[in-house]
Symmetry: C2
Subunit: 232 residues, 2 copies
DNA sequence: TCAAAAGTGTTCGAATTACACCCATGG
DNA sequence: CCATGGGTGTAATTCGAACACTTTTGA
């Protein structure tokens, strides 16, 4: 342990991996970078941590400035700090991921950043080590979602069970038995059935549900398993 | 997203929460701080990230300088970056946790740091936000160990099943049924039985086992559950 | 010989899976 | 009137918790 003198001060950045779901596809929000280096290339939304600001605050501010959204699910992923990750100057970046309902977001987009949603599977190459960040985030979200009802953060206020199922199938890249999925999900006791039906995807129509927020909050740290054991 | 000019450069530190197990108790390694502020108070082992060094390397170097150990389990926990967490100057700290077998460590201790092992339940107050770091690490290790065979990192090369059990009981603060535990553990197929017995704790003696490293590595990311559901 | 820890076997109920089948309805 | 997705019912199986019982051996 050495003293404070003659230490190396560095830039601290925050980069946000913003995931969204539109009812069909899992997407990621990218911006077209407006500064050198790598101007006009696609990048995660990010920024530098300011003097009086905690890192969490910085992440929240960056997210809000782009999406206009507050109260969105935002979690620290991890730090990326290779000495040469930013060619201009040593910059340590703290990656955060956000989960948002795309529809909620659409209207409030700040166009200054030239942001665009890309289906996860068709995203363009990214600058610096942002590819690695996205991969890490995808892996982590999968991991966490296998135990926590995390993915509800991606859904709109009211949603149908088949929608939830296709979200899980998209995230985990698997096929699920809809009959067992329905039962597992309703058994979890997290949903409240509404009277309305969504008739877009079937003639019979699927009932809308909303989250039971109380139970959701209380049960959040508990384990849930929507993924059958046999499916790697 | 703003440019690189006029940015706030900050100190980046690494702090290590070092957990160890001596066969009976889970312990944490602390050092007596030798610089101001808070000189002579207990603290996590830490240091600043140097210019050419990645954060992971910095953490590894710090760990090695204290314990003399390499190849120890070391994982990034998360960043602590409140503006006032270090009273001297804004410092962002990346917390890492390490899991080590205490016996392995004993001989190589670097005495320069006045380090000492404390049973987790009897640790002294710590400086800055180190308490919060330790709490976060404890919670996270519990969480991860509930699904991964993480705790084997704390055990010596050869160990008995009752030892593993008391480790789990210590970490999770629960009592486990030894008969079910034995079966679960052997069913996981991670252990190789040795001929030797440990006779210290019983007259009958308990067989030593060693890890099946191949299976351990391959199965590491898979889920395992040693903790019964009923025990919060 | 007996106390105490290590380890095996057995039972029972809950949870998981696979899958047959019914429901509602727009074209 | 039938194809299509939504949803219920049910049998077969696995899994986990509880617990009776055997084994070993030093004191």
């Amino acid at each position: 342990m050495t003293g404070y003198t003659e230490k190396n001060r560095m830039l601290i950045a925050v980069d946000c991996i913003i995931f969204g779901f539109d009812g069909e596809t899992v997407k990621i929000l990218l911006i077209k970078r407006d500064i050198e280096p790598e101007k006009d290339k696609w990048s995660l939304m990010g920024g530098f941590v300011q003097a009086g600001e905690s890192i969490d605050e910085a992440a929240q501010n960056i997210l809000t400035s782009l999406t206009g959204l507050n109260g969105v699910y935002l979690e620290q992923l991890r730090v990326f700090g290779n000495p040469d990750r930013d060619p201009v100057e040593r910059t340590v970046s703290v990656a955060y991921f956000a989960l948002i309902d795309i529809n909620k977001y659409k209207k409030q987009l700040n166009h200054r950043f030239h942001a665009e949603w890309f289906p996860i599977k068709e995203k363009p190459p990214l600058i610096f080590d942002h590819e690695e960040m996205v991969e890490t985030a995808k892996t982590y979200v999968r991991y966490k979602a296998a135990h926590h009802p995390l993915l509800f953060e991606l859904l709109p206020k009211k949603f149908t069970i088949p929608q939830v199922q296709s979200l899980y199938e998209g995230i985990f890249n698997i096929q699920l038995d809809n009959r067992n999925f329905i039962r597992k999900l309703t058994a979890a006791n997290l949903l409240i059935k509404l009277d309305e039906k969504d008739k877009l995807n079937s003639k019979k129509g699927a009932f809308y549900f909303k989250l039971d927020k109380k139970r959701y909050k209380t049960n959040f740290p508990n384990l849930l398993s929507f993924i059958p054991k046999g499916s790697k």
